[in-house]
């Protein structure tokens, strides 16, 4: 099924379209009329300074926050996302910065958390272990020693990989990664970014929140920039360079980048 989606033309209807999203907390307007497209088979990087509203937007899509106004279109159809369960039903999974793994459980137990397979009322451990093992090797997450080791004994990159693999396990269509490489070393960052590419190659829509422009330009197909709750720029990655992204993030606009994008978009390599 994943391969079929991967073949879909890039120009097709985005998997998720967000239109006119407003969200305020008391007097603070966190998001103002935000539009966002997340196409399948592409990595969309969501950039923005602290407080720009990246997390709020993610949590609105994940069903954790209820937007005040705005619409979601899933594969072109209007949908309501009122709770994390609604999001899960559509096939949206968020891999949070704090990883959302239980340290005391092992890899298999974490990957199946909340969706355990049961047989006659008892957990079907053998079946779950086989499925988890298959998913991990499919994503080439092979550095873990045993999938029965507690998550507490994993390195940061391995934990991130398990969290991502958990998302993949469920035939998801949209994975949102919250700062997936924050606090990781060079080798582990590479491991996680490779994993992000593999998700995209499987035809998933990936949204990656990141401060790290190296990571953004390394894997992103599209870049969306939030500034003070407004979506100030959103285009394919080749339309940006580092300078313009930083300008958008900090000032909310960039005439230079717009001229550059008009004139020489095709010359910019996105890395």
């Amino acid at each position: 099924m994943a391969q079929l989606i991967a073949q879909a033309p890039v120009a097709a209807e985005p998997l998720l379209k967000v239109r006119g999203l407003d969200k305020h907390f008391g007097p603070v307007q966190a998001l103002t009329k935000v539009d966002l497209d997340l196409p399948a088979g592409q990595v969309t990087a969501l950039a923005g300074d602290n407080g720009a509203g990246k997390s709020v937007l993610t949590k609105c899509i994940a069903g954790i926050y209820q937007p005040d106004h705005g619409e979601f279109f899933w594969e072109g159809h209007p949908v309501q996302i009122h709770s994390p369960r609604d999001a899960a039903r559509l096939g949206i999974e968020t891999v949070y910065q704090d990883l959302a793994l239980a340290d005391n459980l092992d890899i298999v137990q974490n990957m199946f958390l909340g969706r355990e397979r049961v047989h006659n009322g008892l957990l079907d451990e053998d079946d779950m272990e086989r499925a988890a093992s298959k998913t991990l090797s499919g994503l080439r997450v092979t550095t873990v020693r045993s999938i029965r080791q507690p998550v507490a004994s994993l390195s940061g990159g391995q934990r991130q990989s398990v969290a991502v693999a958990k998302a993949v396990m469920w035939n998801l269509k949209l994975v949102m990664l919250d700062e997936p490489t924050a606090a990781l070393g060079v080798v582990q960052t590479k491991m996680v970014l490779d994993l992000v590419r593999r998700l995209r190659d499987r035809g998933l829509a990936v949204m990656m929140i990141s401060h790290n422009l190296n990571d953004v330009f390394e894997v992103a197909d599209r870049i969306a920039v939030l500034s003070l709750g407004r979506m100030v720029a959103q285009d394919r990655a080749s339309a940006f360079d580092r300078q313009s992204v930083v300008e958008y993030m900090t000032t909310g606009g960039s005439t230079r980048a717009r001229q550059a994008a008009d004139g020489e978009a095709t010359k910019h390599g996105a890395g």
């Binding site: 994390p84 369960r85 899960a88 968020t94 949070y96 910065q97 704090d98 990883l99 959302a100 793994l101 239980a102 340290d103 005391n104 459980l105 137990q109 958390l113 909340g114 969706r115 355990e116 049961v118 009322g121 008892l122 957990l123 053998d126 272990e129 086989r130 550095t143 020693r145 045993s146 999938i147 029965r148 080791q149 507690p150 507490a152 004994s153 994993l154 390195s155 940061g156 990159g157 934990r159 606090a183 990781l184 070393g185 080798v187 582990q188």
Partner: protein
């Protein structure tokens, strides 16, 4: 973070393997018994000790008390059975407390909730007043306790109150309720289980009744064979499908160990331990404790509910995000905690041969928490097994029993039990710190 990267950055594969071996349960990395043993030693050094400290503690208690008790009476058959009967209440209450501790919560009310269950059971079978059948009394007693737990759990989850405060209030409230219940009927606050009435006798025998020696042997054989078969076929199936499984020798060792322990226990119980006449056979309380142990072990290790309990104890936010209804699970845990306390209360009433107002529920709950922690359950949530409560209860019972044999005052028993609890929590805190140091920083 630097430590976390080490296993991947280090080019020497053996060094990386050694580093990882320190943190892993031996059964998942070992291919043979020798490897398993070495991995186990490595883990001990790293502070991941499992049930070892409590087993060592039990052996130490046996040696010390045997050496200094008069005529080495500590290890006599009569005293060992007595010891088990004394420990049974602590064991069941510790298993009850485990439900709260696994969540990282605490239930201070288990002592008096148990007493409520005990009083209800004793009052309902009184042949002069309530005249209930024994089974009705038992069911109502444990269900009443379960309701108490559901009520406390609801307060904790729906009103977001601290479990410490809610159950501390429960400790006081149910102390009062026990006194009210004791005052009912013409028993001057001391409803007893003495008498020939069949219903009274059944409750009394929960602790003091014995099973015929021959039946004991047969029952033991059935249990050991069933348990052995489950272990053997489960491990073989996993080994055949290439899943993570212990080596054959380890599976065999476990089965042999279970068989040996069972035979020794039944053999001890089947010795005639009466000074005059015959008193032999396995006391009812042993299968009762084993039934609670088996039921709650299956519930916590083999069902979704149990998995969610551990997940909530390990990372409540992760559990919530995984779609687990945290409030419901927590409420059920407090319900099951009080329900199990009710079973403990019935055993306690049986042990005392009735109920009176000198039931000290405050002390019972402290022993219950101590037993669970001594057994290896973490106070920080997410780590521990039902078996830990049983082993910890045996330690508390052993100290209690040994001190009594030595003619030492109850004050020394308090002091020694307190010191043992300190040692156990120190081990818990140290092993937790060890686990954190070995991997990434907690977020």
């Amino acid at each position: 973070m630097a430590q976390a990267e080490a296993p991947e950055a280090v080019p020497d594969p053996t060094a990386a393997a050694d580093a990882a071996a320190l943190e892993l349960p031996p059964e998942i990395v070992a291919q043979s018994l020798g490897q398993w043993f070495r991995a186990w030693i490595a883990r001990l050094r790293a502070g991941e000790s499992g049930v070892l400290p409590v087993i060592a503690g039990l052996i130490l208690i046996s040696i010390v008390f045997t050496a200094i008790s008069p005529n080495q009476v500590f290890l006599s058959a009569g005293n060992l059975v007595n010891l088990f009967q004394q420990s049974a209440v602590f064991m069941v209450l510790a298993m009850a407390e485990g439900f709260a501790l696994l969540l990282g919560e605490i239930d201070l009310s288990v002592g008096y909730v148990a007493a409520v269950g005990g009083v209800i059971g004793v009052q309902l079978v009184q042949p002069t007043t309530a005249r209930w059948p024994w089974w009705g009394a038992i069911i109502v007693a444990v269900l009443a306790c379960g309701l108490i737990g559901a009520w406390q759990g609801t307060l904790i989850t729906r009103l977001r109150l601290s479990s410490l405060i809610v159950t501390l209030a429960g400790l006081l409230i149910f102390n009062g309720v026990v006194l009210i219940l004791l005052g009912l009927g013409p028993f001057s606050g001391y409803p007893s289980l003495a008498g020939e009435n069949n219903n009274l006798q059944v409750i009394y025998k929960l602790m003091w009744g014995t099973i015929d020696p021959v039946v004991s042997w047969i029952g033991m054989a059935v249990i050991v064979v069933a348990l052995g078969a489950v272990l053997w076929f489960g491990d073989s199936r996993r080994r055949r499908s290439g899943l993570v499984a212990p080596p054959v020798s380890l599976t065999l060792l476990k089965i042999v160990l279970i068989a040996v322990v069972s035979v020794v226990v039944v053999a001890i119980c089947n010795v005639n331990r009466a000074a005059i006449g015959t008193l032999e056979g396995v006391p009812w309380v042993i299968p009762i404790v084993l039934a609670v142990l088996a039921a709650w072990t299956i519930l916590l290790q083999r069902t979704r509910f149990g998995r969610y309990v551990y997940a909530i104890g390990g990372n409540r936010e992760a559990a919530r995000r995984a779609g687990i209804k945290v409030g419901t699970i927590v409420t059920w845990c407090f319900t099951l905690c009080s329900f199990t306390a009710g079973i403990g209360g019935l055993l306690y009433a049986s042990y005392l041969g009735g109920m009176s107002n000198n039931v000290n529920g405050g002390q019972l709950v402290l022993y219950a928490v101590a037993a669970a922690v001594i057994g290896g359950t973490s106070l920080f949530g997410g780590r521990g097994k039902v078996l830990h409560g049983v082993l910890g209860g045996l330690v508390i019972g052993g100290i209690y029993n040994g001190m009594y044999l030595l003619g030492l005052d109850v004050k020394w028993q308090f002091i020694v039990t307190g010191l043992v609890l300190l040692v156990a929590t120190t081990i818990d805190a140290l092993s937790r710190r060890g686990a954190t140091g070995g991997s990434v920083a907690r977020v």
